[in-house]
Symmetry: C2
Subunit: 213 residues, 2 copies
């Protein structure tokens, strides 16, 4: 397809598509004449991924490029899929630039739920910060709560991984992991609040739903 | 205790304590002479709650006051505990000031998981926005995923409600609900990422943990 059709198919303005091309975020089309390049379905998919990461997930452009580089890196030097998944998810907020090991709360929690502790993993610093906050807020994590949360979040993670696309290569898999993490966090948060509401209604013997403001 | 001891016990500067008093966020002490008021443990607890809501959870002062008003409202006019819990949690971000019914995605999802739909509840608008985003990002919610997530988030909510304080009245209960919601969202998000990592390591046959950046 011509670039005009790519614009039409994706709904992304021509200037933006050209910007993605200049930045190397979108591979060049196949030159079919001195003035015309041909684009394919892979370009439609890539533009969709860039828009999802930048506009929907709200990632800064530098982070979007990090993720695209993980997808596009030459096979021989690119990290394996597992490392690439970890690095791609690490491109998501929260960005704790000032976080430095040690992470004692996270280390203890990760040991308690039987997972491998690796302080280089971004979520470890995020967990440390979050556990500091619950402690400072007067509702420190308990072993019991940690086990309950970890069990159920693991079951959800098992489901998520079971639905990772088999086809579409690294682009589809890393896109699924990154967007699934970033975009489903707010879904999880909203469903969590609704679950609290529903359980509270049962416990407090309420028939009606509350008046949220 | 004197106000100086309240300052020492809470670690909050005198000027800030006086500000809380002027704003009516902290009840006045008991006047024991023309120049001296006496403060009690309830003042220590209240200052702790205000700091947790403002400094740790990061709520704007207006939202903190909304929550304190729900705690302090005169018994006869105050909403029942269930409504107060809903209104208190609605004082948390995300603030979707421009959200307006209808919320078709949220309504369908809430019906599918057998809960009562009430568009006045703040989490309904949040769910609608989140479901719009996953759709726009190319990973729309499915019935199957919804059931899996809802089942496990409900089990976590059952646990949370089972640990709601019996003592300490509305202050303790609303404080637990609001801080538990706000401060545990990041814990849930971090544990969710770590669960993904752990499950992915198992599925991809990886021994080592990834190099997060």
């Amino acid at each position: 397809m011509r670039i005009s059709e790519l614009v039409e198919r994706t709904g992304v303005p021509l200037a933006t598509v050209k910007f993605y091309l200049r930045q190397g975020m979108l591979p060049a089309g196949e030159a079919v004449s001195a003035t015309r390049a041909e684009y394919g379905e892979e370009h439609v998919r890539r533009v969709g991924l860039i828009r999802a990461l930048s506009d929907v997930a709200g990632l800064p452009l530098g982070r979007v490029k990090e993720i695209l580089d993980l997808i596009d890196g030459p096979e021989d030097s690119a990290p394996g899929l597992f490392d690439a998944l970890g690095q791609a998810v690490a491109a998501l907020p929260p960005y704790l630039e000032d976080a430095q090991p040690p992470y004692p709360r996270a280390e203890a929690a990760i040991a308690a739920i039987g997972q491998v502790y690796d302080e280089r993993y971004a979520a470890v610093a995020q967990l440390e910060r979050a556990l500091e906050a619950v402690e400072a807020g007067g509702i420190p994590m308990t072993d019991e709560r940690l086990q309950v949360y970890a069990e159920h979040l693991r079951a959800m993670a098992e489901y998520d991984l079971s639905r990772m696309p088999d086809e579409g290569g690294r682009e589809a898999q890393l896109g699924y992991a990154v967007l699934g993490t970033a975009l489903y966090d707010p879904v999880v948060a909203a469903l969590r609040r609704l679950a609290h509401q529903d359980v509270a209604a049962g416990r407090l013997g309420v028939e009606e739903t509350p008046k949220g403001t």
